[in-house]
């Protein structure tokens, strides 16, 4: 079962990133070459460019290029201008469409054959523009290559909304941009995608939302713990005990109220999170979710906030929604794509919630039986144990995340055997750490997770 120690967190947090690493293209060459990941939205495209700084420094024309901090001003602006000049997107008719260098960040990359080196990552966006079809354009990219002609850029396809690749499923190899010595020029890279459809993207978002909730036991247990007391009323001295079935009108009112409150809560924060209007560190969200499961389960054993369940559902719904939204951030693919993705994803989440609610219905039926107390307490006791495990499991990396943030980019100094590689990857915030080659060099039968951990610690 997935709720194995560490697996829920690891699976939901990190598997996407891990898979991205595992399936990194065979084309990858252990040289400090450039990598360009292209994401195609409904009406825009995003280019994530990773450039080895030592090679970039050879190509920048400025006298400070070899030694200066490339991210300090005025160098940063000069670097942005340089990429602006060596990057262009042309629509099918040959008309250049606008692009913008959105961000430049610095990373430490590691390669077994090259060692550690400084890497700049740029996000360049081609926003919606008249005549621009993100499924049919040509990319003229010449940064570094124009001056260092043996340098080349591997091109990957990351997301493709119309083909249903909406999340970080791991880049696939797309091609390579190289200097053509016979013509003394750098050929344009043609992007011509088979026709996809808006519905494929939307449906992919629905499936993603649906599976995200159904695959996440913590979300389900939270809702189930609240719904199990829907037919009951707090009673006894100071309301410290749960009654039995209180009739269908009472049950239905509370059942739907709690469900609706949860829906409103997580829909709101999903929206805020997906548009990056709110950002809470993921690890805190995960701990809060585990805490919400604990609270709801304890409440279902002994009433803590009887009659106020809908408020808890709404409040923690906000937290659960933030976790949902993590999957949808960082695409930078423009409003149309993001809106369709969020819409589809939320529909999927609601669908999954309906399934979960349907599962709670048998509990409503049996809630009139005398032994229901035993069943309820047994189920909730298991839930409490699970929630405690999750809290402990998720708190370990949280402690280390703080040290990690303090170091920004650098070595990880934690006891790597304590938690899954997925978590570590998550902390690295980005799958492109040249881990693939390390995995490949590992002795046969080696634990892939430990290899990743070793690589990250090096």
């Amino acid at each position: 079962m997935r709720w194995h120690l560490g697996w829920l967190a690891a699976a939901r947090l990190g598997v996407a990133a891990l898979v991205a690493v595992m399936s990194a293209p065979a084309l990858a060459h252990p040289m400090p070459n450039t990598e360009i990941s292209i994401s195609l939205g409904a009406d825009s495209a995003v280019f994530d460019v990773a450039v080895p700084a030592p090679e970039l420094r050879l190509a920048l024309p400025q006298p400070w290029a070899r030694t200066a901090d490339l991210l300090a001003e005025p160098q940063r602006s000069a670097v942005a201008q340089y990429f602006d000049a060596h990057f262009s997107v042309r629509a099918a008719g040959g008309v250049e469409v606008p692009h913008v260098v959105r961000s430049i960040t610095r990373w430490e990359a590691h390669d077994p054959d090259v060692g550690s080196y400084e890497e700049l990552r740029l996000r360049i966006e081609a926003p919606p523009a008249p005549g621009f079809d993100p499924r049919n354009f040509s990319l003229q990219y010449s940064a570094v290559i124009h001056q260092v002609p043996n340098h080349f850029a591997l091109v990957y396809l990351n997301r493709d909304f119309y083909a249903g690749r909406i999340a970080n499923q791991g880049p696939v190899e797309f091609g390579v941009i190289r200097y053509d010595f016979s013509r003394d020029a750098i050929p344009a890279f043609e992007v011509t995608m088979a026709s996809g459809s808006l519905w494929r993207g939307l449906w992919a978002a629905v499936s993603l939302g649906f599976m995200h909730v159904l695959g996440g036991l913590d979300h389900l247990l939270f809702l189930a713990s609240l719904l199990i007391v829907a037919p009951l009323r707090a009673q006894g001295g100071r309301g410290w005990q749960w009654s039995l079935f209180q009739g269908w009108p009472y049950t239905a009112r509370r059942f739907l109220g709690i469900s609706l409150a949860f829906t409103l809560g997580h829909s709101l924060s999903l929206l805020l999170g997906a548009y990056e209007l709110v950002h809470v560190p993921r690890i805190l969200v995960e701990i809060a979710i585990a805490g919400s499961v604990l609270l709801a389960a304890v409440h279902a054993i002994r009433p803590l906030f009887a009659g106020q369940e809908w408020k808890v559902a709404a409040g923690f719904g906000l937290v659960h929604g933030l976790a949902f939204s993590e999957t949808l951030t960082g695409a930078g693919l423009g409003h149309l794509t993001q809106a369709l993705t969020v819409l589809g994803f939320n529909l999927g989440v609601e669908g999954a919630q309906l399934v979960a609610m349907a599962c709670a219905v048998p509990l409503l039926y049996v809630s009139r039986w005398r032994w229901f107390h035993v069943l309820r307490i047994a189920l909730m006791a298991i839930t409490v144990v699970l929630a405690l495990i999750w809290i402990a499991d998720r708190s370990v990396p949280a402690f280390h995340v703080n040290t990690r943030i303090a170091q920004r980019v650098g070595q990880l100094d934690f006891d790597a055997s304590r938690f899954a590689a997925g978590d570590i990857l998550q902390m690295q915030r980005g799958p492109r750490e040249h881990l693939q080659t390390s995995l490949e060099h590992a002795p046969g039968g080696a634990d892939a997770r430990l290899v990743l951990v070793e690589t990250l610690r090096r």
């Binding site: 709720w3 039926y365 046969g444």
Partner: protein, 381 residues
């Protein structure tokens, strides 16, 4: 009111079953192995064993095959094939194929995994002796060239093995193969290579028809002691080129200087035929006799890596084409700084020498290739 309508509960229960199924883990990461075409673990035929060629005894092999030249190569090849197990023989003797011939690299087998052939590490001392004798007969005899250069490049990998503690660098991980059957008739290629080394001599009906692509590199570039001797296999190539470039007049140097920067060679492994459309630099025919001679001396350090009679044939061809050959460089003419680069581009001849940053040990290290536009892989496509 106390009876449970079973049918009403069935649907939700079915939903719950689906829900439980959805909780199955997606499989542990890595269970699926690497991507198709990925490297995977290093194959067992890379034994990571050191085989210092200098200590290998060739007396028995030389006694068994007393002929010279191609006849000796055929005799030694037959001797080796007779002595190998069927499993090794199947990897040693391959059909002639330009595709397999193209499977070479500057990378060690830790990184590049497509090489064909049997490794030295898999062989008995007698078999190692036959391979050494083959190499000596097929390559040049000058100190620091031909066989001696190869021995030093293998020693350098043992040095890297000791310094980096990465066992994947080892002289025993170099590979030998025969592409096509060595015989008096027919086409075959003597394939020997590994990290920083590719030797590919092609023969047809007993005559050499191609000595290239011929790749050499070494890290570190500085002279090192390893396997009981001093090793600096690329020192002569470097010195010859630096002398030839420094001797150019300032005007010639400025004409020879390339505006672009080269951090590696451009017609490297798996980059067949990617030559520039126009020749850059200074035309050798426009240089003085002395400067032409210095350049020819540099060319000799490459052509001298094959047996003397065949080397003489190739050198005669390149001498004839020398006037229309161009030389160019990037960086400094002394070729001692990172990314210093020199290129010789003739009607047939192509040589690149690239001085790169150290990858495994501090310092610099060269990559270099000798190619022939018409005779690479014996002119076969």
């Amino acid at each position: 009111m106390n009876r449970i309508p079973v049918s009403a509960a069935a649907i939700p229960l079915l939903g719950c079953a689906c829900l439980l199924l959805a909780q199955q883990p997606p499989g542990p990461p890595g269970a699926g192995g690497g991507p198709p075409g990925g490297l995977g673990p290093i194959p067992s035929y890379y034994t990571n064993r050191s085989v210092p060629l200098g200590a290998v005894d060739t007396v028995a092999a030389d006694r068994a095959c007393t002929a010279r030249g191609h006849a000796k190569l055929v005799c030694l090849a037959d001797l080796l094939k007779k002595d190998l197990s069927p499993e090794l023989l199947a990897r040693l003797q391959l059909p002639y194929s330009v595709k397999d011939a193209g499977k070479w690299s500057n990378f060690p087998p830790i990184v590049y995994r497509d090489r064909v052939g049997v490794t030295l590490g898999e062989m008995s001392p007698a078999q190692e002796g036959i391979v050494k004798s083959l190499l000596k007969e097929a390559t040049g005899i000058a100190v620091g060239e031909g066989y001696d250069e190869i021995e030093q490049i293998l020693n350098a990998d043992d040095f890297l093995k000791d310094t980096t503690r990465n066992p994947g660098f080892a002289s025993g991980n170099f590979q030998i193969a025969f592409l096509g059957t060595p015989a008096a008739k027919g086409t075959w290629q003597f394939y020997f290579g590994g990290h920083h080394l590719q030797f590919s001599s092609t023969y047809r009906d007993g005559a050499m028809i191609g000595a290239t692509p011929s790749f050499r590199g070494v890290e570190p570039f500085t002279q090192i002691k390893q396997n009981g001797r001093d090793n600096a296999p690329m020192a002569q190539e470097h010195a010859a080129f630096a002398t030839a470039l420094v001797a150019l007049s300032p005007a010639e140097q400025s004409r020879a200087k390339l505006s672009q920067t080269y951090t590696d060679i451009i017609v490297g492994p798996q980059r067949e035929g990617t030559y520039p459309g126009t020749k850059a630099g200074v035309r050798v025919g426009d240089l003085s006799q002395d400067r032409r001679a210095l350049l020819l001396r540099a060319i000799e350090t490459y052509v001298g890596d094959i047996d003397p009679p065949d080397a003489a044939t190739f050198l005669a061809k390149y001498r004839k084409e020398l006037a229309d050959t161009y030389v160019s460089f990037s960086g400094t003419p002394s070729l001692t700084a990172e990314n210093d680069y020199v290129r010789v581009d003739g009607p047939s001849l192509w040589i690149e020498f690239s001085m790169q940053p150290g990858r495994l040990v501090p310092g610099i290290h060269p990559h270099s290739v000798w190619r022939d536009r018409s005779a690479d892989y014996g002119g076969n496509k």
